[in-house]
């Protein structure tokens, strides 16, 4: 009698097949499953590696980004040679070598309110490893509308969260979803991002592995999936907690996708923050060559200054208000940070105190590294 598996597959998956409660039936469910992994970064890397290794029959790989040097500290799918190449394509090439018995579909595009339903509808289950609030809510809402399970994980610095959202019980009802936990997103700026907060490289490996484990459990039907529960992991304290999540009767019914950038307050506010005088890195270079008399202030943190600097005076953002006397009022002052956001905030607050001679360095030290000094480290 045919098992539906080749000899190579049976041998490959033998350690699954000899687990009594998993056996060939569990493996068959994996082979028949279609899983979409959204984001191939820190979380997506271990999720994709383990799902491919375990024999999920069809894996969708969605990412619009290209591999960057700063990814390699934690995104273990990628190598030095991959820098600059599309992540989804590189991931597929790597995973095909890991398991030639399964199929992949590459979605080298951004998930949007326009394409999300069409893409997600092709899969049985979603693993969400994205890196921003608008996409979190988009993935959640699309899964709720389509009735798909959303295996969720999220990380920040030393801390991770995992849950299984919108799980369909045997009686057809669904478990809690992300909006039952967090009905509305935090406004921009109130929650620091990994780009400013950093993330310990191993953390997504740990948390992504928990996430992959939940995918396997939901598909194979073994154990108790993390439904109605939020798992928290603090790598620093080595503390784990599992909290209950209940369906919130006040959560509005999700019936259609919306504009998630707007929902998360992104777009408008930053434009206002950036409404200060600015100069480009080319202007700054010219001012220096002309030996113009001006002051350059760096409002980043000392540990950032150690990575790369422009020889500016280091006055970290939160100390500015106590060091006003250090800021020139009788000549032009250029203020910079990493990307131009913090320096714009500093200038806004200083202009409220009467300063009128301040210029924001557009694009920050990153722009300097991109346009002026190729040897400068970007972080």
């Amino acid at each position: 009698m045919s098992t539906g598996f080749s000899k190579e597959e049976l041998e490959r998956y033998s350690r699954h097949l000899i687990i009594p409660e998993f056996n060939i039936e569990g493996q068959r469910k994996l082979k028949e499953a279609k899983v979409l992994v959204i984001g191939t970064g820190g979380l997506g890397s271990p999720v994709l590696l383990y799902l491919a290794a375990a024999g999920i029959g069809h894996i969708g790989i969605l990412d619009f980004d290209v591999v960057d040097d700063s990814n390699l500290q934690r995104q273990v799918l990628f190598s030095v040679d991959d820098v600059g190449k599309p992540k989804a394509e590189v991931a597929k090439a790597r995973l095909e070598k890991l398991n030639p018995h399964i199929d992949f579909t590459v979605h080298n595009e951004k998930l949007t309110s326009e394409n999300a339903l069409e893409i997600i509808s092709q899969y049985d289950l979603v693993a969400d490893g994205t890196d921003n609030f608008p996409t979190r809510y988009l993935v959640n809402d699309a899964c709720v509308i389509l009735g798909k399970t959303n295996v969720y994980a999220s990380i920040f610095r030393f801390e991770g969260q995992v849950s299984v959202f919108n799980y369909q019980y045997e009686d057809g009802t669904f478990g809690p979803n992300y909006r039952d936990l967090f009905p509305t997103p935090p406004p921009p700026g109130l929650v620091p991002s990994c780009a400013e907060g950093g993330v310990l490289g191993i953390l997504p490996g740990t948390v992504g592995s928990f996430q992959a484990n939940e995918v396997i459990k939901v598909i194979s039907g073994i154990g108790e999936p993390l439904v109605g529960r939020l798992f928290l992991y603090d790598a620093l304290r080595f503390d784990t907690r599992t909290l209950k999540i209940k369906k919130n009767p006040n959560t509005p019914k999700i019936e259609e996708l919306i504009d998630y950038q707007q929902f998360c307050g992104i777009g408008g506010k930053e434009d206002v923050v950036a409404n200060v005088k600015e100069i480009s890195v080319l202007d700054l270079k010219k001012w220096r060559e002309e030996e113009k008399d001006f002051q350059l202030i760096d409002v980043r943190e000392p540990y950032e200054y150690d990575i790369a600097n422009l020889d500016g005076e280091l006055i970290p953002q939160k100390t500015v208000k106590d060091r006003l006397s250090k800021i020139s009022s009788d000549r032009d002052v250029v203020i910079h940070c990493r990307s131009g956001k913090r320096s714009a905030e500093v200038i806004e607050s200083l202009e409220e105190k009467g300063f009128r001679n301040l210029y924001n360095l557009k694009g920050g030290i990153l722009a300097w590294a991109n346009e002026i000094d190729a040897n400068m480290a970007k972080y």
Partner: protein, 92 residues
Amino acid sequence: MANIIIPTPLRKFTGNETIVKVEGDTVKASIDQLVSKFPDLNKHILDADGNIRKFIKVYVGDEDISTLNNENTVVKDDTTIGIIPAIAGGKK
């Protein structure tokens, strides 16, 4: 008296303290004491009216306080209060 566990994103406002002991018989009294001890935390946990912000979850033990008695949930000496923020990962 309760122990409040501070999540990673908010530790910069508590001088990296991860567990803060507070006096108070209710969740509300405990949180109020936490933010009076660390005023920079205030806007990250409470809105302008002093209510807990919607993108922050507060737990007593493993129960969401909204399934208990909300901010009036009674705490005891060995109660652990968890503040759970939404975190998204890499970008804003």
